[in-house]
Symmetry: C2
Subunit: 300 residues, 2 copies
């Protein structure tokens, strides 16, 4: 939470976080033959994280007057994909991070092989949740969500971005390349979250969907710029991961390319653009609006 | 191919293999921002493998008089999942294999980080192919396939089996534990292949589906027993991976637990059971029938 949030946003965040935590606990309490694997999957997913992506699913569903119940599967699926990506990103062959969400990363708490399998199993579970969701949505809408998430998670989105990130490591990239990288690595999943929320109302118009896409593109980049700012100015305890790790790895960031002040201005501009894209919406989009401020004011 | 195959089976195998190769080439020729990632995905999937799982999808679709066109997406999806699992299984933290399908394994040909991402991207692509398939199937059937594949690929199936396999490494397990492990690690995906083929005909009866499930369970185990036999008696060049690697790693196998002769008898018995489960089918199931012989006569 954050001192600058509106009371309405704080309440909304808590509601969404509790709701997705409950869904995650349900899908991660199923009995499977390898109890060690399930324990590690729970370790990687529960009791941690801001749940920004599920919050965006619910806020977007609310903006188009859809029912929260119809957004539950999308919310849990997108968080499972996000959690798997963190587990794999932390692996020794990738970013080699020992700390995640304030505790040992999965491969440190368990072992490397288990962490690889945890990520693989969480990804499959995300698609299982989406394909098998039990709510009022039509099969075609469920399929559309599944396609969206698969595109956003794989080579056309998040995983493609992660690959670009690895390729960029140790090389000089410019602002345009950095933006492409982040549009994929974090932006694609954020955009999918917002679009899946919108699909929860089958009457959502093409115009509304396009406005929400513009919102998502701006908020996604704003989120990443703020991440780069926090990596520079926050401390390890607040971040829950090592502070300054981007700088230590000589990674190009918005701060390294623009400087701190211009990076802050860029985050504000993107948040303003996000807010503007919602002008055609009623007060139902207030949570999405409040989130633009939340994302650039967050401290971790 | 195998000298003991019927000409009809040889023709069917070639047809299926060409068909899935074409589909794989199509989905893996799409343009993505990280060309290195796509190159590695193609390396891991194309020009190799027996394509047993796609063959089972097509043979099962044929058994219930479904159209091959409606089985294409399932065939390519199941092969993408299988290919991703090989890439991750070969990683240093897992089985640490340098050789796969007669060439360097993905993490040797590229690097470990790329191999992790290749597996992740191939898994997402499998679900993208299933959710976005363009054919005569209803959305509900496509969703059913997606659920089946997600269950078979994740903690409830293949990945769960891989986790049990890691846990069993270096310990003594009995025949029953070995069977559970293989029912998950390889059996689940084989069963999903057969069931997805059956779903290609929406008129497929519950009775037919159950018979096909029994077929798949028996053929899946027969396949694994034969794998263990081949690891013992074949040579590295024929296998395309190091011969005797199970024994070198002191892994429990059907051969180590039963001895070679009893393992061979077990494979034959399972293949016979598979054939028996098809008694209610017409000649449309002949490819499935011929496959029971193929699987225990194959030499790699």
């Amino acid at each position: 939470m954050n001192a600058q949030n509106t009371p309405a946003l704080d309440e909304f965040l808590i509601q969404c976080q509790q709701r997705v935590e409950q869904s995650l606990r349900t899908v991660l309490s199923q009995s499977i033959p390898s109890s060690k694997l399930m324990e590690a999957m729970r370790y990687a997913c529960l009791d941690g994280g801001k749940r920004i992506r599920p919050v965006l699913v619910y806020a977007s569903a609310q903006a188009v007057d859809a029912k929260s119940e119809d957004a539950d599967a999308a919310a849990v699926a997108v968080e499972l994909i996000h959690s798997y990506s963190l587990v794999h990103d932390d692996l020794p062959a990738m970013d080699d991070d020992d700390l995640r969400r304030g505790k040992a990363s999965a491969h440190r708490a368990f072992d490397e092989a288990t962490a690889i399998l945890v990520g693989d199993a969480l990804q499959a579970l995300a698609f299982q949740c989406l394909a098998n969701q039990n709510n009022s949505l039509e099969p075609a809408a469920k399929l559309q969500m599944t396609t969206l998430l698969a595109e956003a998670a794989g080579a056309f989105g998040m995983t493609g971005g992660q690959s670009l990130d690895l390729e960029a490591s140790g090389t000089d990239i410019d602002l345009s390349a950095l933006e492409t990288l982040h549009r994929l690595k974090t932006g694609a999943l954020i955009k999918a979250s917002v679009k899946m929320g919108a699909i929860c109302n089958p009457q959502c118009s093409e115009e509304q969907l396009q406005a929400l896409e513009r919102y998502a593109e701006n908020i996604g980049l704003a989120f990443q710029v703020q991440d780069d700012i926090l990596d520079e100015i926050s401390d390890t305890a607040t971040l829950g991961k090592p502070q300054g790790s981007d700088r230590a790895q000589a990674k190009a960031t918005y701060v390294s390319l623009l400087g701190l002040e211009k990076a802050k201005a860029k985050a504000s501009e993107l948040a303003n653009n996000a807010a503007k894209s919602l002008e055609g919406f009623s007060s139902s989009a207030n949570s999405l609006r409040d989130l633009t401020t939340y994302i650039i004011n967050r401290i971790h």
